[in-house]
Structure formats: structure tokens, C-alpha cells
Symmetry: C2
Subunit: 280 residues, 2 copies
């Protein structure tokens, strides 16, 4: 689990780093970013995971997410993984922004030719946490998870499958029911095959229908988001939570779109919301 330091820059009193390592799960080098606030010597800090959306790498939120001021204020470590395996050996759908590289959908693929490298579920749930725990001053008893769009889907599903590990789950404009929308049907069908029972553990609404529960969920969704009606369908998540008696906070944000201008606007609130729960 040797880490290579790609870059480290002082920011908001802490260190914004970018690192790479050879991943066993994906069989590729993987790059991720970590922000470590200034802290007392020896202190271990809570950690907030951020899963990114289609076409993104770790870099988008690292450059445009505006999380560092809030993470420094609340003493929270922020980890941003990549969204898929990378490299010339990794099969891709070159003309499709919503499948293949940049579109791992946080699943362990079971179909050829994807199953060898597209193991983002195990990478995010098992391997990368071990790397983070071994190399950064994190308190792994205090983890929260968030993400955007495809990464909002990732945050909700990873969090709902592991409620004992993630004390708090939030999402910006998440794909809440991938089994029901074009992006998700395409990705899950090709990564997992057409047996839809295998999709349910990768669908936040289906997970809740099947019994998953969490007491601390926050979702922000812009009303001017071009993907709201066809791909995101936030109302499905609201309905699933209501039917299950889950008290999720789902906020429709008037006039906001799908971009980092939206994410950055509410990022500080999400960091503070997680921090309150991680320090409780």
C-alpha cells in the first residue's frame, strides 16, 4: 500500500494532497485527494468521503468544491476518490460519457469485459479506507459520506449498505433510483447484466424498500437542474423515505443547476452538518 505523493499544497492552514497507489481491486493505479486540516499533534480527525459524478476525477471537487474553509473550521478530513479505473488496459466506451471510464457507478461489475477492472464498490468500501487509515490521521470511527450526481448515488448506496460505518450521509443532486432512469439502467445493465435483482443493492430507493435504514440523511437538489426530471427524480427518494419512516432532510434549492456552482454554494453547510454528527 505504498503511496505516491502527486502534489501537496498548503491551503487554509492545512494540506491539500493528491496521491496515487496501485490498487489491488481495480488492477490499476488510482489517484485520490485528501485535505488534512491543521490539527493538534497526534490528533485524529473525522473523515468525510466525497464521491464524484460522471466524467469527473478527484480533481473537480478538489479545485471547485470549496470545502476546505469549512473542513478547516470543523476539523474534518476530506477524501475525494476517482470515479473509475483508468489506464490504457482498462476497457472503455470511448464515445459515451456516461459509461466506462469516468462512470464506474460505484459497483463491482460482474460482466465481461468490465468485471476485471471496474470494482469501484470494493475499492471505495474496502481498499481505499484501508489506505486512508494507514496513511492519514483519521478517526475511522467517525466517518461521513457525500457525493454529487452519480457520486450522490454512490454516497447514498455505500452509506445505506454500511450504516454502522457512516454516521451521516448527504448528497448533492443524487441519482436516487438508477434502476428507473436511463443513466442507471444503461450502467447497471452493462456492468451487472439484465437480472435486475442484482441491481437492488446499487439503488438507494431499492435498498430502502429492502430494509436499509439511516437516521442522518441530507439531500440538496437544485430545481433548475437539467437532469432532475429524467435522471435524478428526487421525489422517488422522498417517497421511499416516507414509506419507510426515514426522516431524511431533502431540500429543493430554487434556481440551482447541476454544476459545481450549486455544489460549492451548499458545501459548507454539508460539511458542518456532517461535522455535527461525527462529533456528537
Amino acid at each position: 500500500m505504498a503511496l505516491e505523493t502527486v502534489s501537496e499544497n498548503k491551503a487554509f492552514g492545512g494540506v491539500q494532497g493528491v496521491y496515487s497507489h496501485a490498487s489491488e481491486e481495480t488492477g490499476t493505479d488510482m489517484t485520490f485527494s485528501v485535505f488534512v486540516p491543521d490539527r493538534a499533534s497526534g490528533a485524529k480527525l473525522p473523515v468525510l468521503w466525497y464521491l464524484s459524478g460522471l466524467t469527473c476525477t478527484h480533481a473537480n471537487v478538489t479545485e471547485k468544491g470549496e470545502f476546505r474553509a469549512a473542513c478547516a473550521e470543523h476539523s474534518v478530513i476530506f477524501v475525494a476518490p476517482d470515479t473509475s479505473p483508468r489506464g490504457d488496459d482498462v476497457p472503455d466506451a470511448a464515445d459515451e460519457y456516461d459509461f466506462g471510464k469516468g462512470a464506474g457507478f460505484y459497483v463491482d461489475a460482474t460482466r465481461e469485459p468490465w468485471r476485471k477492472h471496474y470494482r469501484m464498490r470494493s475499492y471505495i468500501e474496502r481498499e481505499l479506507p484501508e489506505v486512508i487509515a494507514a496513511n492519514f490521521p483519521v478517526d475511522m470511527e467517525r466517518q461521513g459520506i457525500t457525493g454529487h450526481s452519480m457520486g450522490g448515488h454512490g454516497a447514498l448506496t455505500v452509506g445505506l449498505r454500511n450504516p454502522e460505518r457512516f454516521r451521516s450521509i448527504s448528497a448533492f443532486s443524487p441519482i436516487v433510483a438508477p434502476s428507473q432512469v436511463p443513466w442507471g439502467k444503461k450502467a447497471l445493465g452493462r456492468y451487472l447484466g439484465e437480472d435486475r435483482t442484482a441491481w437492488r443493492e446499487y439503488d438507494a430507493c431499492a435498498l430502502i424498500e429492502d430494509g436499509a435504514r439511516h437516521d442522518h440523511i441530507l439531500v440538496d437538489q437544485g430545481t433548475a437542474d437539467n437532469f432532475l426530471d429524467d435522471q435524478l427524480q428526487t421525489h422517488r427518494f422522498a417517497e421511499a423515505c416516507e414509506n419507510a419512516g426515514i426522516d431524511a432532510e431533502i431540500r429543493m434549492q430554487e434556481g440551482y443547476d447541476h454544476s459545481y456552482y450549486f455544489i460549492s454554494t451548499f458545501m459548507a453547510e454539508h460539511v458542518a452538518w456532517h461535522a455535527a454528527r461525527l462529533k456528537a
Copy 2:
């Protein structure tokens, strides 16, 4: 002065726009960004200009500058111009990042082949302010100016030449004495010719030596900036101010480098500093 809207996104309650227009000064289309916070109907707000550094366009600070939260809090409009003329008709030094496109140095060039298009001083001092005044809810009696590196040079020189217009001047890692350093000698020599008397109005230290004064100057400079010793030489500005009796606030920031990780860390302080002076 027709404006074309390239994009508008809601952010922090306001609107982050990107616009283009046909510039008379540069003879090209020019792109710039403007953030307008939420405001009372009819209200005109103070404006903070941000001039960018080498290789940048309006986009770098717009995406990575983290100014919107502070501008929304303090009700300040933020304008970010490009750093040079653009387009296939504009002469360039294609292999040189520090000259030609992306490196206008905020001068009106007098030498061929640069003089026709490289008129960034007049563009920033005259033409773009007219465009901004005609199209946005700005109070042009309350203007401040800031910038980074080459744009810090721009902010200091534009501000020192026009102290009646800019109530406050700040800079991040500015080139303070271009006449004395490689970046500046190369650019001023080629844009203006080798008669160095013509360089003095484009050199913050020389302007102060020649009598320019301002009561509100703030400079932040990282001590881990790779360009500090050779290109920035902050101490020259400190000396020029001291010799002239100018009470500038020059802060050496321990461990910070030349990147937007540095700029974004101190951006909110700069916005607040300008706002206090623009609203005084």
C-alpha cells in the same frame, strides 16, 4: 457594446455569469466573468476587479478563487477579465507561456507585431469598465482592484495610476518590479521596446518612486512560492513603500505557494478588506 451571455449559473444566492463582447481596444472578442450577489431591487453594489496571472483566462479564478461566499456576504460584485487578446488573428509566442496570449501584462504594446491587439491597459482601464457600468448593477464610485502574480502587477499598477478610481488595492503574490525581473524584462522589452523610461508606468515600484501614492494597499505573499526570489521579489515593494511613506500591509504567509490553494485561502479576507474600504 452588445454583450453575449456565455453562461449564467446561480451560486451563493447570486448569479455567476460569463460574457463576451467585441472589444474595440483589442480588435477581438473578449470574454470575462461577473458575479452579482443577490441584492435589493435597484441596488447598485461596489465592484472588485480581479486581474489574473500568466496562462490564465477569466475561468481560473471563477472556478477556483472561492470568492463568491465572501462577495455574497459583503454584497460586492466581482469582475474577472481575460489576460490577453485571443484568436487566430492575434500574434502569439506559441512556445512561451510568459509572453503573448495569456500574458498581456496589462500594457498597451507599442511594438510590432503586438501593438494592434495587445492593448490590455486601455481595455482594463477604459473599455471594460464602460461595458461593466452599462450592463451590471455596479456603483462605479466604489471600486477596488486585486489580482494574482502578473495580475497582481496589473492590480498594483492600474490602482496606483488611478487612485481616485480605485479606493483599495490588493494583490496575491504580485510581480512588484517587472523592470527588474526576467518575466517583466522580457514582456516589457518586447511589448514596449528597450527604452526603459516607457516601462516605469508599468512597474509598481517605479510608479511609487515617481510619486504614485495610495492609502489602502494589501499584499499577501507565500513564503514557499517558487517564484518569490526570481520573479516576485516582494521586498522591493516593501522598500519602495517605506521610502515613500506608504503604509502598505504586506503579509508574508508561511508555507504557502503560488497556486490557487494559496489564493483561495486568503480570498475571503481580501474581499472583506476591500468591502470595508468600499463601504466606508
